[in-house]
């Protein structure tokens, strides 16, 4: 059944054995995700050797993992948005509105002489936490829903649509707060307490979100359609995928993740932070791009995003420990980002693709 084409290539149906372990390994080792992952491991080894007993400790890693947890959550969400070939600049607005909505909801629950906002951490109950969660998620979801409708149905470029909701959402948050932050310990246990093996909840939550993201992107029909739309929205449309509706879902998911990030942030920092998240969008996009997700859509990896979240954090942490000016981290991350995207570019054009 093996036929030769005029150009001499073997044209038989590829037998199962053609998909060798070797070719699969080659694909893995040349993937941008693997390269940045190797870079991350290398940097970690270097820091461990150069700062023995300080960098490579459990305590340090627990601290790091807590510090990156919120960025992890929103970056997993935005990986889906970028997988469609879109972008979400409105993450800070989702986070801050998430915080503010939660605080507003708590402040409407009378407790003793005051409201639930005034609770101490040890007075808080699951009821207050669930109410705060619901309002945070609602705020983020609303921002995401608006993004999705504006991008998918009004056909405003994602960059501008989400720039609009970034400014608009932050404005609404500042109006609701009269520009000042409110401290609350009511949902403190969410982020700092531990339900499992003494691991802070924040870390467990980030791990769960990452796993859910990996499963959704790679194993679910939803993830497959997300990638298909990013690869060719026309091809997706022709096979009957409801492209607009799916885009709304994806942007809404991104907003949902931001709202959840706001909830976690309120728990972690015990205060709203209306001005404290302004670069979270750029950090998330950096993480996604570092990890090997294509900003053109169609190719995405949640695992890569996790790696991309850790690289800047590790560099900063390591530099501080070693007494290097931590501003070098910004320089290093910028260089690695450009390098990673450039390598991806080369790999793709050598593939004969786009």
């Amino acid at each position: 059944m093996s036929a030769q084409t005029p150009d001499g290539t073997d044209n038989a149906v590829a037998p199962a054995s053609a998909d060798t372990i070797g070719s699969r390994m080659r694909r893995v080792f040349t993937s941008p995700t693997f390269i940045t992952f190797a870079f991350l491991l290398l940097v970690m080894v270097l820091f461990s050797v150069m700062a023995p007993g300080k960098f490579g400790t459990i305590t340090n890693f627990k601290l790091l993992a807590q510090n990156v947890a919120i960025l992890t959550v929103v970056s997993v969400g935005t990986t889906f948005v970028i997988a469609t070939g879109g972008i979400d600049l409105s993450i800070p607005s989702g986070i801050v509105l998430g915080e503010v909505f939660a605080v507003k909801a708590l402040s409407m629950i009378p407790v003793g002489g005051g409201t639930a906002v005034d609770l101490n951490a040890d007075q808080s109950g699951i009821g207050y936490i669930l109410i705060a969660l619901a309002f945070s998620l609602a705020a983020g979801t609303l921002v995401g829903l608006i993004n999705g409708v504006v991008v998918a149905y009004m056909r405003v470029p994602a960059m501008l649509a989400t720039l609009g909701t970034l400014g608009g959402g932050l404005g609404v948050a500042l109006l609701m707060q009269n520009g000042v932050n409110i401290a609350t310990y009511a949902i403190n246990p969410v982020s700092s307490a531990s339900l499992l093996f003494g691991i802070p909840n924040l870390i467990i939550i980030a791990v769960i979100v990452a796993i859910v993201g990996i499963v959704m992107l790679n194993l679910s029909v939803f993830g497959r359609h997300t990638l298909a739309i990013g690869s060719s929205s026309e091809a997706a449309r022709r096979v009957g995928i409801k492209v607009e509706r799916h885009l709304v879902l994806v942007y809404t998911l991104g907003g949902f993740a931001s709202g959840f990030g706001g909830f976690l942030s309120l728990g972690y920092f015990s205060t709203t932070s209306v001005a404290g998240h302004s670069t979270d969008n750029l950090q998330a996009i950096t993480a996604v791009a570092l990890g090997g997700t294509s900003l053109f859509g169609g190719v995405a990896t949640v695992f890569g995003t996790i790696v991309g979240v850790w690289i800047p954090a590790i560099l900063q942490n390591g530099f501080i420990i070693m007494g290097v000016q931590p501003y070098w981290q910004m320089v290093a991350v910028g260089a690695v980002l450009i390098l990673a995207v450039w390598l991806d570019r080369i790999r793709r054009s050598s593939q004969g693709g786009r």
Partner: protein, 257 residues
């Protein structure tokens, strides 16, 4: 196939006086077309004659501005491509319409994934079925089934699109220049595939600029010119010169619409 009261067979798919405008471009001006079950109907015409536009309307990808579509004689409207595929109508588009970053199996099953627990796709099973149907159809692929189709050659991509359509077609298959990027061997395979699909009783619509190829495989030939049908022939009753005359407007056997 459905026999009419008068004993003739209704076209498996038919277009009647279809009108389609893109702003100021009148792509279709009352175009009609018929394809019958168990026959290969070739649709020929010059560049820009409206062949691809007509196929997209019959596939539900474009909505006509006027006219009627009939399936087995019954009037239908296709709100979207799913409405057409639900009736067993499959299309290989001129631009292929594959998702380049997905692998062959993902493309073949895109939009109709085999699911597990509703939420998940069953990638292993989809790969297995794709490999089997590629083998059955004689579609050759050098690369394995795990790499994105972006890394395939143009001809291999075309094979994936054809195999996808052939796999799902139950009633009508429309192929818009399916051999344009293929070498000699692959072209022969596609023509064989077209015949075997016809022999399964499906209506095959075949668009090509290669007139000898059209004459080789077509049972009927319809000619489109400037957005409307100008001639119809039976396969054996026409030669290349007559087809060229019809395509260029020097000949018509159609009453003006």
């Amino acid at each position: 196939m459905t026999a009419r009261v008068d004993g003739t067979i209704a076209p498996a798919i038919a277009a009647e006086s279809i009108i389609k405008n893109f702003n100021h471009v009148h792509a279709l001006r009352g175009a009609s077309f018929e394809a019958f079950p168990g026959e290969v109907t070739a649709l020929v015409g010059d560049n820009g004659a409206g062949k691809s536009t007509l196929v997209k309307i019959l596939a539900g990808t474009l909505q006509p501005d006027g006219g009627t579509i009939r399936i087995d004689g019954r009037e239908v409207t296709f709100a979207d491509p799913v409405a057409a595929t639900a009736l067993g109508i499959e299309t290989v588009y001129q631009d292929l319409a594959l998702a380049p970053d997905l692998d062959a199996a993902a493309n073949v099953f895109l939009g109709r994934e085999i699911r597990r627990m509703h939420f998940f796709h069953d990638q292993a099973e989809m790969r297995r079925r794709t490999a089997k149907s590629f083998a059955d159809l004689g579609v050759g692929l050098v690369q394995d089934l795990r790499v994105p189709v972006a890394s395939f050659s143009g001809g291999q991509r075309q094979s994936v699109a054809i195999a996808r359509a052939a796999m799902w077609a139950r009633h009508v298959i429309m192929l818009d220049e399916p051999t344009a990027a293929l070498g000699v061997i692959q072209t022969a395979k596609v023509l064989d595939l077209i015949r075997s699909i016809r022999d399964r009783g499906l209506a095959v619509v075949f668009i090509s600029h290669n007139l000898p190829q059209v004459l080789e495989v077509a049972d009927r030939i319809e000619v489109l010119r400037l957005g409307s049908r100008v001639a119809r022939f039976r396969g054996g009753e026409v030669n290349v010169d007559q087809l060229i005359a019809a395509i260029s407007g020097a000949f018509s056997n159609e009453v003006a619409a």
